[in-house]
């Protein structure tokens, strides 16, 4: 179970996120929606302890999430990565095993097999020796998905994973999300996309600095909620 309790974040005295609380069960695919600057990425970063929260806590499997990071796979936004970094697809994926491997040791045979299986699952094993920078946006995102898979985490958090990806990659990602759900993994996906892809999510969180709605697509994507979140309900079709 994932519990977010009264989470608030402020930057230089300005509230970026106010008092967000919600609870999710294992095996759920949760979409985090909201306009630009709504605090979606801030929320996941605060949950993971990447930025300081003004108040609140995030509990996972009965403990603070920051104490269960070995069970979490986090895929940051594309803009956070330097795609010209001199590194191959294989070594990016192998990063998932860094903490597990421990200091002063080389990755085990099991880690190498997990990385191989993850790359095969996303269709990138044949490109394992290529530089990450020589791939398309969709391929790069699949490599990061492979890295999350190789971690074998119980909670997977993706920040804008569909930004700049092709349709094939999007299909692969939702297919893998469904598999992970069936293995009782919890998935949190930050997204801008309000199209038909929303049907893939079990529950949605609609944010704009504060929690506007949480629940099923039908419960969340109402004209009133969209009006509050986006200040422009005409652009969207409520479920």
């Amino acid at each position: 179970m994932l519990q977010i309790q009264n989470l608030s974040v402020s930057y230089r005295g300005v509230d970026a996120l106010q008092d967000v609380s919600c609870t999710f069960e294992a095996g759920e695919l949760i979409g985090i929606l909201g306009p630009n600057g709504a605090g979606k990425s801030t929320m996941v970063k605060a949950m993971l302890g990447l930025i300081r929260s003004a108040q609140g806590a995030t509990m996972f499997q009965g403990k603070p999430l920051t104490q269960k990071l070995s069970q979490v796979a986090y895929v940051p936004q594309r803009s956070q990565i330097d795609w010209d970094y001199p590194i191959t697809v294989w070594n990016v994926t192998m990063m998932a095993r860094t903490a597990h491997t421990g200091l002063f040791r080389q990755p085990s045979q099991q880690s190498r097999e997990l990385v191989k299986a993850a790359l095969e699952r996303v269709g990138m094993y044949n490109l394992r020796d290529r530089s990450i920078g020589s791939l398309s946006g969709g391929q790069q995102q699949r490599v990061f998905l492979a890295r999350a898979l190789a971690k074998q985490a119980d909670l997977l958090i993706f920040d804008e994973p569909f930004a700049g990806v092709d349709r094939k990659t999007e299909d692969i990602m939702f297919e893998i999300f469904a598999e992970l759900k069936s293995q009782a993994k919890t998935l949190l996906v930050v997204s801008h996309d309000l199209s038909e892809t929303l049907e893939h999510y079990d529950r949605l969180i609609l944010l704009n600095k504060r929690l506007i709605a949480v629940g099923s697509r039908r419960e969340v994507m109402t004209a009133e909620n969209l009006q509050v979140a986006y200040d422009s309900p005409l652009r969207f079709v409520a479920a």
């Binding site: 970063k45 993971l48 990447l50 920051t66 990071l69 070995s70 979490v72 986090y74 895929v75 940051p76 956070q80 990565i81 330097d82 970094y85 001199p86 590194i87 191959t88 070594n91 990016v92 192998m94 990063m95 860094t98 903490a99 491997t101 200091l103 002063f104 530089s131 958090i157």
Partner: protein, 293 residues
Amino acid sequence: MIDGLIDPLKFEFMRNALAMAIMLGVLCAVVGSYMIVQQMSIDGRHDFPLGAGGVADRCFLRSTPLCWCGSRRGDQHRCLSGIESQSRLKIDSVMALILASFLAIGSTLVTVLPGANRIDLLHILFGNILGVTRSDLLLTFGITILILIVVWLFYKELLFYTFDPLGAQAEGMPVRWYYLGIVTAISLTVVANLQTVGVLLMIAMLVAPGMTAYLLVKELHQMMLLGAGLGALAGVVGMYLSYYLDIPSGSAIVLVAFGLFLLAFLLSPSQGVLTQSRRLKAQEVGSLRNIGK
């Protein structure tokens, strides 16, 4: 030819200088590779102002360079981070101000502090590798070995941290320690470099071998290994050029390193400017021929 290579080695100062140039070539390539991938070389928090501000007090704390680099590094980093985080100013403009101010502090201290008039400012600014002593060599050897061992032990963690700092932090890795480790390595390398190429040419020596290798290989460890070879080569060739052409040693080393970079920039098989334009032309000719058929 052989005589030409052996002849300078008759002098102890040349043997010392060559040993120093080789060690620094290796050290700079390894540390400089992290600076390049972290995009630290244009970030004034890391090298130039560190050396510039340390013009005077380096001499007073020469026997304890660790204390020196720690304190100096800390002062400037705190200034930059403080101004950047507490205002809307961008790092570039803050860096320009801090860089010039710390250089001013350094040159002022040279005239104000007791005993500082013994310092040859030109040697600090441009280096004096021919004046390298055995203790300088031992210090640089110690720094080089220490940094190489630490990089070897923590390679995979530093790779993760420098590629994806947020991801590494989300793994619960002690990213602040990794940052501090890289900054300390840069500071130690700067200390070692002051004697060789001086404050002004130091940045080129730190980044040129790594940048050259970056254009030729596709992995960080390859960049470090090739960069180390190129750095050592630049050191040796630069010293011989300096000996035979009677030009300043630090400048000669940096110019050779720059020459190697220029070659890679133009001719690198994957990223060379000339190689790419030749490839594009070949493709255009191929397409025209296909249309002709």
